[in-house]
Symmetry: C2
Subunit: 341 residues, 2 copies
Amino acid sequence: MKKIVFDVMNNDNGIYDAIKGAIAFKIKNPEYKIALVGNKEIIEAELSKNNPTINKDSFTIIDSKNIIHLSSSPRDALKNPSSMLDAFNYLIENDYDAILSSGDSGAFTTLSMLKIKRLNNVERIAFMPILPTLIGKHTLLLDAGANIETSAEYLNNWAILATYYHKLIFNSNIKPSIGLLNIGTEEYKGSPLNKEAYKILRENQHINFYGFIEPKDAIEGKIDIILADGQSGNIFLKTLESSFLGFGKMLKDIIHTNIVTKFGGLLLKKQLKKMKSNFDYRNVGGAYIIGLDKVVVKAHGGSDEIAFEGALNQIKNLLDKETFIDDLKKELDNINYVSIE
Amino acid sequence: MKKIVFDVMNNDNGIYDAIKGAIAFKIKNPEYKIALVGNKEIIEAELSKNNPTINKDSFTIIDSKNIIHLSSSPRDALKNPSSMLDAFNYLIENDYDAILSSGDSGAFTTLSMLKIKRLNNVERIAFMPILPTLIGKHTLLLDAGANIETSAEYLNNWAILATYYHKLIFNSNIKPSIGLLNIGTEEYKGSPLNKEAYKILRENQHINFYGFIEPKDAIEGKIDIILADGQSGNIFLKTLESSFLGFGKMLKDIIHTNIVTKFGGLLLKKQLKKMKSNFDYRNVGGAYIIGLDKVVVKAHGGSDEIAFEGALNQIKNLLDKETFIDDLKKELDNINYVSIE
């Protein structure tokens, strides 16, 4: 039986959507054991009223009422009581398979790194969100900010991990193409780090290396995996998110200008909704933290019931591949033997 | 008399728009001496047919027919003949005040750095575009990619330069607020470079330091100057540009879906045009290369006549302040004395 720990606190919209998402998932996947970490009274009240097949014994409940402070420093995240910290401790102590939270990315990444065993031959973990593109297809971005400093070896490591994850996440048989995010596409451009990584990645026979890419290529979906140092990946991700949110807001304001524009907006409604849905994080999914011996997923901070159920399904998608962690370990053993000469 | 060298080649749309922009500017500013560097026959033909007050003697014409290759390496830019290289040589040999080109940013930055004297106490030049924001106001971003490696001292240097330029560019009397682009706004977050720069910038009495910012703050116009290392600034700029272009394209496709959506688009046309115009580089302006003893402006690669005339006006705006370079030099002398302890 597969086991998931779910920190139901720390969500921008409160605790209820998380519990409802867990219930919706559990009804369809009764064979999954799920531990809910959060305010016990609220959880039990919510479980008792919803569904004939669900009651408070359907889940393991770990009472934990403190939410993690948004700007917790790494030290605070480890020291101060929080449902997120309790969830990690429960994961390790009870040997669960996966953990899910929608809390602060920084704290979640720190706790993942400090609490969960890294896979053999993985030097650093990476934060890996799924991104939409202009052509509809989804790509993986890593590292989006787990690491403050990045080495060429880490990038090579992540390229291998992401190649493996890409196949599992998208149930795909292609060897995904990997672009290294850079200030130009020409081989002579970029930081010493990127130039060094370029040489190593080009020689790596286990991946499909496309070469340097610029943000435009990533947004247009020219490649399957966007590889970046932690700072560049983080700035790329946040600029992309803020631009699209900003554009959406401007468009909304425009439509609300007057009665004529409101009618114009009405005529475009169906198509605009479709476009929005393509970029909606609920349809795109949560971010993975990879390089660890567990499945670790960070749901969006504003997740609703549907987003949480989706994140649980993301986890299930990996856990259902029984030998996935073992296969990944084998892959890593092989590859590091080759790439570190 | 103020003198501008204008490389009219190297534009995505060919040579004509650059010549037309120069003519439009010259008619309104006959006191400016302008040297046009490009295909002499085309320039003369264009000058002879346009306007009664303009003829081939209205400009100095330097015949130079080679455009610079888009992926020129720094070495190639210096070695291979090009109108851009000729423009820089002409600027220096004839002691002109300013240079304008719409050619490749990389080549233009390299040639600026190698050909033009740096100001005293400036360690590195920076590429500084003007950016639109969601609230309409314009901000400055630097460095957007002139430097592959950045030090905390460079960032402090640029903060001083940009504070000075901001006043001149926007004819403003406020002390512009400066945000340092980072992976988080909390003081303990970020690379060693950013943490070191934070401490220095906080102590710098000559600037108005806001603190760390994330892409969201920059896009929302929370600060006046976005300070960044060359790689982060470049990725931020290009992600922003590509996101807005991508969004605009999606919206256009949506409007063209069918007769109903076309009508919807028609009703929104006026407002959409206004929004587009806010983000149109023609209304925003070219990028400056700062830290040099000349005024150096890079126009957008796809500039049309209006954009080129605008870029020439950008140059004029600085050159008309007679003592601007001298004042800047004094500012730098003062400030470096204070900040390098």
